[in-house]
Amino acid sequence: MQNSTKDKITNLINSNPLMVFMKGTKLMPQCGFSNNVVQILNSLGVEFNTFDVLSDPEIREGIKEYSDWPTIPQVYLKGEFLGGSDILIEMYNSGALKEKIEVELAS
């Protein structure tokens, strides 16, 4: 991964408290897994930002290496990697996601 790509990812993560790297946009997710994450976060009523990895091949590959995570979507909360769609769904179902996001965003 080029340093410029790494810097761009770091910048996105640090400047957006809840950051989602996904395929497509909030309004037009291009993949079922990305759509799951958008629907979950929408239902929690929290503010979040997204980056469409389909618009940037460097970020699309770079984020996988950056997070040591082979799939998209990927969610970062306050600079910490939270997980992909499976983990988000699991945390959402247990109620842990709402609690974690509320605590982190309030601090």
Binding site: P70, T71, I87
Partner: protein, 76 residues
Amino acid sequence: MITKTEVINLIAKKIPNSEVLVENLKGNDHLQVTVISSEFNRLSLVKQHQLVYSALKEELASEAIHALALKTETPN
């Protein structure tokens, strides 16, 4: 293309004391994988998934597995 048995073997090799269940979601490249192992007791959820992904790194990169829904559990 990858068979269920290949997926199970790759994961079992990486995590010897595990039980692996694989189902096809949509064709052979969309998989639902459940891994049960006491190995997960000491790991965060992210690390648990990373461990399983590391066993399938090449298959995910080559898109032999296009989509993987993963669930990790510890034995009761």
